[in-house]
Amino acid sequence: MRMLAKLIRDEWVKVLAFTILMSAVSLVQVLFWPNIKKLVPLVLDQMPDFFRGMVGGIATEGFVFYIITQQLIKNGVIFGSGLAILLGASAISRETEAGTMELLLSRPISRARVLVEKFVFNAAILSLPVIISTMIAWPAAALVDEAIDPIALLVAAIYCYLVVLVILAFTFMVGVVFDEQMKVLSTSLALCIVMMLLVIFEETMYFSIYGYIYPDVLRPIFVAGRVPYQLALTMAMISAGFVGLSYLLFRKKTI
């Protein structure tokens, strides 16, 4: 618990800033819905093919599709990934770089415990901004005379969080390999940029983690109330795999 208290003390500013920022953007997006609704049919024809599918979906399926595309892609791809990278990079490498990892591991505490606690606590605090900022769309929808199923929104938010968790776990593992935070940040950021590029093209889309928070995957959650158990489990297992690899790398690391 002391470790959690310390983590909260270290990261609360980052997490609070992201929660406020992401929630504010979510709110603004919801409030913009009446304008978007009017604007979409006018601009649809001028859209490049890649965006036409998404914008066309907004035109035909309305508010719920708009929330899916704007909220979850934004929370997952842009802000969620950013926060996951920041948290993952500071989890291990900041302590190694600052020399405080030696301080921790010279006490009666196992490497496995340090690693698991750090990952679990970081994963827990990552969930707050991703889920809160998504759920804000539910009460905010009333402001624009729309409605959205809160359970479906929560399921989608949790699923989106599991995707972002993979990025946290990957960055966490990179943090075990490199001692310098900047190296960890740039490696994970580079990977995220590559994945963002992959998602643009239909052929490579599902090679990217972001391909799994695309409307085609998220729509069934809202439309048919279908929980994507299989995909969610896959994401959780990929994260667990990265944490397992982190342990193997960390076990013999000279501190």
Binding site: A98, T100, L103, L105, S106, R107, P108, I109
Partner: protein
């Protein structure tokens, strides 16, 4: 290997707190191992001085004892527990202070101390209080505002705050002012009284010699000497520092009873063997064309210097 059998850690085996053999560690990209086949035994009640110049392998050895670095080969036990497989149980019984004290800068001193003690299951309150009083540390301030000496003191209080069976202190006096250094060494000296042992590493033997019961000398990863401090002291002779008006060679001074002659500028440093040789050597030196002459008892630092000089000479010869 009786001590590695679970449950058989009582009796005389328990007396052996540290028992490691052939520890070797090579860092990637380094030609020579940082520690090369090092063996070390420390018994209950001992204060073991682990001495060597910077980069000799002291810190790497300490890291291997604490499982902060995995040995490439070799291994052993602390309190009869395997240093790799049972490191958490080992660290529960160890108070450790690193030479490069790194603390959480954003924490206040008191919170930092509480955090470190909590990882050890809490310290002994009365002892913590008395150490805080003794070392007069501003606990209400953030650690980032501390001087390096104050950080050292905070880490030291954390290390001394629980009844550990082994204190491992890696260059602990670096950065401490003389009065705090004295206070600290007094605390360390008392440590074996409650049945523990101490491993204290330093590159300045004179700082720790008066509290050590045994001393090991390490150089380039190799343990080159490991002796009872009294045995080392019993070999102490005298040192004559002389300059001469006429030309005198080092070989002219290699008289009977002389252990070693070194030259430092115009001065000759003549170390004599222990016993009654000193007076005879002094008499013989005064028969030479002396310009100035100083005479003193040898210290452990002279022995220490001698050990490393001999090694250097040996290496030069080989090289």
């Amino acid at each position: 290997m009786l001590y590695s059998v679970p449950g058989v850690v009582m009796g005389n085996v328990e007396e052996l707190i540290v028992d490691v053999k052939g520890l070797t560690k090579r860092y990637p990209g380094q030609r020579k191992p940082a520690v090369d086949g090092l063996s070390l035994r420390i018994r209950r009640g001992e204060i073991y001085g682990f001495v060597g110049p910077n980069g000799a392998g002291k810190t790497t050895t300490v890291k291997m004892l604490l499982n902060l670095a995995w040995p490439d080969s070799g291994g052993g036990t602390l309190f009869g527990l395997d240093i790799v497989r049972e490191s958490v149980a080992i660290r529960r019984r160890i108070g450790f202070m690193s030479g490069e004290v790194r603390l959480y800068n954003s924490m206040r001193g008191d919170k930092q101390l509480r955090f470190l003690l909590s990882l050890h299951g809490g310290g002994e309150e009365e002892r913590v209080r008395s150490l805080i009083e003794m070392f007069d540390i501003p606990l209400h301030r953030k650690v980032k505002s501390y001087s390096s000496g104050q950080k050292q003191i905070l880490a030291m209080i954390a290390a001394l705050s629980h009844n550990s069976d082994l204190l491992i202190l890696d260059e602990p006096t670096k950065g401490l002012d003389p009065s705090k250094k004295k206070l600290f060494l007094e605390q360390v000296e008392k440590w074996p009284n409650h049945g523990g042992a101490v491993l204290i590493s330093s590159h300045v033997l004179s700082e720790i010699e008066h509290i050590c019961t045994r001393v090991g000398f390490i150089r380039e990863g190799l343990m080159i000497a490991d002796e009872e401090i009294e045995a080392v002291r019993s070999r102490l002779g005298s040192v004559i520092v002389a300059t001469f008006t006429d030309s005198v060679e080092e070989r002219d001074l290699m008289l009977a009873g002389v252990l070693r002659v070194r030259r430092r500028g115009a001065e000759f440093i003549i170390e004599t063997e222990a016993g009654d040789n000193s007076r005879a050597v002094l008499r013989a030196v005064t028969e030479l064309p002396v310009e100035s002459l100083r005479y003193r008892s040898a210290t452990l630092d002279d022995i220490y210097e001698g050990i490393y000089l001999n090694e250097d000479a040996g290496q030069t010869d080989q090289g």
